[in-house]
Symmetry: C2
Subunit: 392 residues, 2 copies
């Protein structure tokens, strides 16, 4: 691995062991410079940028993104974050009393809140299927999850890679199953593009939202929503603006509705070509595989140290560049702060359901030594007989 | 006026006569540098910025904004743009069949669309009172507009300064009237703060939204929504996220609901203290008055040249730093492009209702010579006998 040179491409502080790429990403210098260059170009002539040049750049950027996701450029729009994408769908989706939205109990809290809110408004039910751990296999997961499908299941909403638990889920199999049963699918890919290869044309989810500002390396506020062309007419804009009943409609109502969202700095959307170029120039597929190997190779020792039963087999089926260990601690927040303040390690400690998870992310700038430092810190803090981590 | 030195504070290209500050603002260098500095700080340690430092900066920035608007810091939240603020209110406001939302026929198109959309959904009526020109006086406007109030009027929505027509409207009088009648008021101040002094504690609108990225000089994507404390509980977030049914509620549900809107780059929100400092250091009240005088002093000659009846008396009651002249042209877009391409003048030509307006904005970087250039260009293009501007 070429961590040492790659580390210098990032803007991260040197004195922090940064194991939380998964939360907010981290933007390499050439992409960040492109970002700020667009912002400066805007200020040089705001009107011309907002009305002429910006929309052209946006089109170029959307095409590059669509190639990356392997979908048609007119089936994808930029949104600020995946929550924005989920809100667009949940607000407008036609759900009636009795309809069920099926998901897992492993979903991201903001998305859970969105579905609960809109299901309640519409009289539908948000079914959070409890997943039993440890998972024996992909087949085990599919059996558990799809066993919760009923005749009332209208939509399956599920993470491609879960947040607190960091698990890759078999969404392609789920999409195929749902298509046969006439159930809509909506994949939350917040953590997927850039970590996993995406092929929307092949998988055919009905809707897919993902972040570019995580594993695709762009600055914050850059994400996307894909909607199958046959369904785009169902979704009103989250923010009604000029694109609704447009005076000058483009060839696509979907773009008019969701791309025209009032004056904003959308430079983060425009950095996709630079991000894709960066990944290409640095042989990102190989970097990502090396990161995954580091992630997987360290899993067992953290589970042993923390007296944890692994959530699943440590294989490519479930684990890419995130690994979550269930831990025993009274105070997740204090543990996070202690690791940060005393050991200068940035690693999230996240509650999900009745468990608490310590999750490490491995990106190009990380090395095995980063995980050694985390291991050593936890060794100092843990009660070796019980596995409990006491924090004063 | 100190235009020459102030001009150098802006990032605008030198070869364009920029008379469209009103549309997207323009950000002075020290404020822009602060903006990009926050973005860099985020990338140095994304987790610590998003979870600790950013929220602290945001609190400081919100307090500075509240001082500027003369309201309580807990009654104002940052939004991306005024349309976002209008969407929050229109989506959640309790409107029933028969209720009327009263406005003028001079409002901004994105807001019109928002109200039409939600009024239709709720069975309420969006009443766009047609304003007769020329306006004789403030009293004339008030008589026309308030004459449209009925027993069904639930909300008055009105611009503080209109967009295409650039008119300052008597919103303080309207708020006072509405308060007596038990009608809610929502002021669209997209163009007001920074151009007019704002005193929300004194005026007591129920809701007020405004842009910081126009006349307050910040980068794009920085705006605010004020809601009277007694009404805040009525409004759900536009984007449901962690702040809805928060696990760690702050002292204010209003802040939790509308400030936590998923991962985004909110550096533009953080530049308010720098913007206020910039205005203070450059004696902005005096700059603004000088700009207003230039705006007003040139009004009559443009009306004469363009065979236009002024919309109103050119006094402080109606005119600040924007002036709109109704013009006769077949093709507003082509006229804009011709002025830009042939004369290097950036000035908007905007349809509103059945009229077309040419609107100039005067900001610190403008001089009377900019208006001379516009005048000379129009003189070349106009048919002096009819006042028509023909564009091939």
């Amino acid at each position: 691995m070429q961590q040492n040179t790659l580390r210098q491409q990032f803007l991260l502080k040197d004195d922090v062991t940064y194991l939380n790429f998964g939360a907010y990403g981290a933007c390499p210098k050439p992409i960040f410079e492109e970002y700020q260059k667009f912002q400066l170009e805007l200020e040089n002539e705001p009107t011309n940028f907002m009305q002429v040049k910006g929309p052209e750049y946006l089109k170029t950027s959307r095409r590059a993104l669509a190639d990356f996701l392997r979908c048609d450029a007119d089936d994808v729009v930029y949104v600020t974050n995946p929550s924005y994408g989920v809100n667009i769908i949940a607000k407008s989706l036609d759900l009636s009393a009795g309809d069920e939205v099926l998901t897992t109990d492993l979903e991201y809290g903001a998305c859970d809140r969105t579905w609960k809110y809109y299901c309640k408004k519409k009289g539908a039910t948000y079914v959070r299927k409890k997943i039993r751990f440890p998972l024996a296999s992909k087949a085990d997961f599919l059996e558990q999850f799809l066993g919760a499908v009923t005749n009332n299941t209208k939509l399956i909403f599920i993470s491609h890679i879960t947040s607190a638990t960091g698990l890759r889920l078999p969404v392609t199999e789920i999409c195929a199953f749902a298509k046969q049963r006439g159930i809509l699918t909506f994949i939350d890919g917040a953590h997927a593009p850039g970590q996993l290869e995406i092929n929307l044309s092949d998988w055919r989810p009905d809707m897919y939202t993902g972040a570019c500002h995580k594993w695709m390396l762009t600055p914050k506020g850059s994400s996307f929503l894909y909607v199958d062309a046959r369904l785009q007419h169902l979704f009103d804009p989250l923010l009604i603006s000029w694109g609704y009943e447009s005076l000058h409609p483009s060839h696509s109502q979907f773009l008019d509705y969701h791309q025209l969202q009032g004056t904003r700095d959308y430079a983060a959307f425009l950095t996709i070509p630079a991000a894709i170029r960066f990944m290409h120039d640095h042989n990102w597929r190989a970097v990502s595989i090396a990161c995954k190997e580091t992630t997987q190779a360290n899993a067992a020792r953290f589970c042993r140290l923390l007296h944890a039963t692994p959530l699943c087999p440590v294989t490519d089926d479930f684990i890419a560049q995130l690994y979550s260990v269930p831990i025993l601690t009274d105070n997740p927040e204090k543990l996070h702060d202690l690791l940060y303040e005393k050991y200068k390690i940035q690693v999230p400690v996240m509650p999900q359901g009745d468990k608490v998870y310590l999750r490490y992310s491995i990106q190009a700038f990380n090395s095995n030594e980063d995980l050694d430092r985390l291991y050593a810190a936890l060794e100092e803090l843990i009660d070796p007989s019980t596995g409990k981590i006491a924090v004063m």
